[in-house]
């Protein structure tokens, strides 16, 4: 796909998110977080992952961004996606437990995803050790990807999982952090400090690569650099992002997660994203 077409996809999926978010007059879809991580999801799920790989959205509050990507990949039908936020829907504010193939674990409570991902990565390694054809597809060990937010790294369990990943040499694990430097009620630096710092993740035994989380070529470059590293360490790609990216009025603001897609905000958001 050309650079232009990929950029159009960034706009189209943002448009879909905003339209779905407008189904509720509330701010519950976490529009800021969705805009922050949608480019990472596009590059990871659509262009990077093999069908046999697994993806965990640990920052489950950005579920709407995952839903539209899975919809693009035809894993969630238009009909099902249109039920978002309706009574009786399968797709609520946080990821469901009913789609295990594409959403292995229901998240929402932060700090769980990386542990689940290390469990899968370890299980793939067990299978490889027994020469299982399930574990190795076309000569490549199955991989696990896990996207966290930087605020989420406040959680102690994240660091338990990090220790497990490095001590078990889970080189088939690629963690990603959507580092927008904001959390629910403040800047990460003012709350508990930058838990997504390169030095912390290096100290916990990860290969660490930093990229612009809104530039698909840069994210792609980070993945290819990661693949060239010959080491048994788990991998971390820290993606620098802007919460609310594409919707000017809320970009980089704490309020970005408390903005409903209604009235003028909705109309302006749809206009803004065209300028990406």
């Amino acid at each position: 796909m050309s650079v232009k077409a990929k950029n159009q996809l960034r706009i189209d999926l943002r448009e879909k998110i905003i339209k779905l978010a407008s189904k509720t007059p509330t701010a519950h879809p976490h529009i800021g977080s969705c805009m922050s991580c949608i480019d990472i999801l596009i590059q990871t799920l659509i262009y990077e992952m093999k069908p046999q790989d697994k993806f965990i959205l640990s920052k489950g509050h950005a579920s709407l961004a995952l839903y539209v990507v899975l919809n693009y990949l035809k894993k969630i039908s238009n009909k099902d996606l249109d039920t978002y936020f309706s009574e009786g829907t399968e797709f609520g504010i946080h990821t469901p437990s009913t789609r295990p193939n594409d959403i292995p674990v229901a998240t929402g409570s932060l700090g769980h995803g990386l542990s689940f991902a290390v469990g899968i990565a370890k299980a793939f390694k067990f299978l490889k050790a027994t020469n299982s054809t399930y574990a190795v597809v076309s000569g490549a060990l199955r991989r696990v990807y896990c996207l966290m937010s930087d605020g989420e790294c406040n959680e102690g369990a994240v660091w338990e999982a990090a220790q497990f990943a490095s001590s078990h040499k889970l080189s088939n694990l690629t963690a990603l952090i959507d580092r927008n430097r904001l959390q629910a009620f403040g800047k990460t630096k003012d709350v508990l400090g930058d838990a997504a710092s390169v030095s912390k993740w290096k100290a916990f035994g990860f290969n660490v690569i930093v990229c612009d989380g809104h530039n698909l070529s840069q994210i792609e470059g980070a993945f290819s650099r990661m693949k060239k590293i010959k080491s048994s360490k788990p991998n971390m790609i820290i993606c620098n992002t802007i919460r609310g990216k594409g919707i000017r009025a809320i970009e980089g603001k704490v309020e970005s997660n408390y903005t409903a897609m209604v009235g003028e905000s909705y109309k302006q958001a749809l206009e803004d994203i065209k300028r990406l």
Partner: protein, 299 residues
């Protein structure tokens, strides 16, 4: 019970290469043979129980059968959210094994006891709970747990050798037959109940042991209560959400009438002092002598 558990799991692991044992840094002088047999599938997950539980869920997702092991409060209360969200909500096949139900950890104190595990775990979806009263029951229980393809919690305790002839295992079973009083016991405290009633004349106390939840009451137990009209539930667990509550609910649902319902349960830490298991049991009225007195008063 833990030695018996390790011995039986070792047998299972030899037959089933999907079994993984994860321990929260416990099991010295216990799990060495399992470590040798399992190789990489024996994982010391470190003092990191939150990760251990969720990583086990991830392994179960891929199709493995992880058993996770620690001191009982550390695989229940400490990680309740991980168990709820990552295991039970999805019905992933993870077995949680807690060592030291009730006051078993004695002078180690309240942080190492668990008095509300049945209550907590029973509120979770898809889960089954095993509360063995005898080491002899572990063979059947571990075998059953291995065959079942859903989450389960096993409450291990320190068993004591009793001079008592055991009937074959089932989730709720009669241990001795009697006509005057129906005694229903949760797992571990059976080792104080049997010595309390052993010298009673035969055919007086109808004793039943509960080792599985959700509770399924055999018809013979309901018939026993219809006859005796007096029930005494004994458990090393707090009143709320324990055997007494579950059992009473079933009696009401089945419209079983009775004259007396006496519930002996763990009352926590009355004196705030430390001691042996019997020290705590005595404070709660669960020691052999206190149980004996209550039963004498009821028959």
């Amino acid at each position: 019970m833990r030695y018996k558990f390790a011995e039986i799991l070792l047998k299972q692991a030899k037959k089933d290469n999907k079994i993984i044992l994860m321990t929260g840094d416990l099991g010295a002088h216990l799990f060495e043979p399992l470590r040798e047999e399992l190789g990489d599938r024996f994982i010391n997950a470190g003092v990191a129980e939150h990760n251990m539980v969720t990583a086990a869920a991830g392994m179960a997702y891929v199709g493995f059968k992880p058993w996770i092991y620690s001191i009982a409060p550390f695989v229940t209360i400490k990680v309740l959210e991980e168990i709820r969200n990552d295991i039970c909500l999805h019905n992933y096949n993870v077995k949680m094994v807690g060592l030291g139900g009730g006051y078993d950890y004695a002078i180690a104190g309240p942080t190492h006891h668990v008095l509300n595990d049945v209550a907590l775990m029973m509120t979770l979806p898809h889960i089954k709970i095993y509360t063995p009263g005898f080491s002899e029951d572990l063979e059947g229980i571990v075998h059953k747990m291995s065959k079942e393809n859903f989450p389960a919690y096993l409450r291990l305790t320190k068993a004591e050798k009793l001079d008592f002839s055991l009937s074959s295992y089932s989730g709720v079973r009669r241990l001795s037959k009697g006509k005057k009083l129906t005694v229903v016991v949760l797992g571990s405290i059976i080792n104080r109940v049997i010595p309390a009633i052993i010298k009673f004349p035969k055919e007086i106390v109808d004793v039943w042991l509960v080792s599985e939840f959700p509770l399924r009451i055999p018809i013979e137990l309901l018939q026993s209560i219809r006859k005796t009209k007096t029930v005494c539930v004994i458990e090393e667990h707090v009143q709320t959400g324990g055997l007494g509550h579950h059992f009473n609910h079933i009696l009401r649902e089945n419209k079983i009438s009775f004259k007396h319902f006496v519930h002996l349960y763990a009352k926590g830490y009355i004196s705030q002092r430390y001691g042996s298991r019997d020290f705590y049991l005595k404070e709660s009225g669960l020691d052999k002598e206190s149980i004996k007195k209550v039963i004498e008063s009821l028959v």
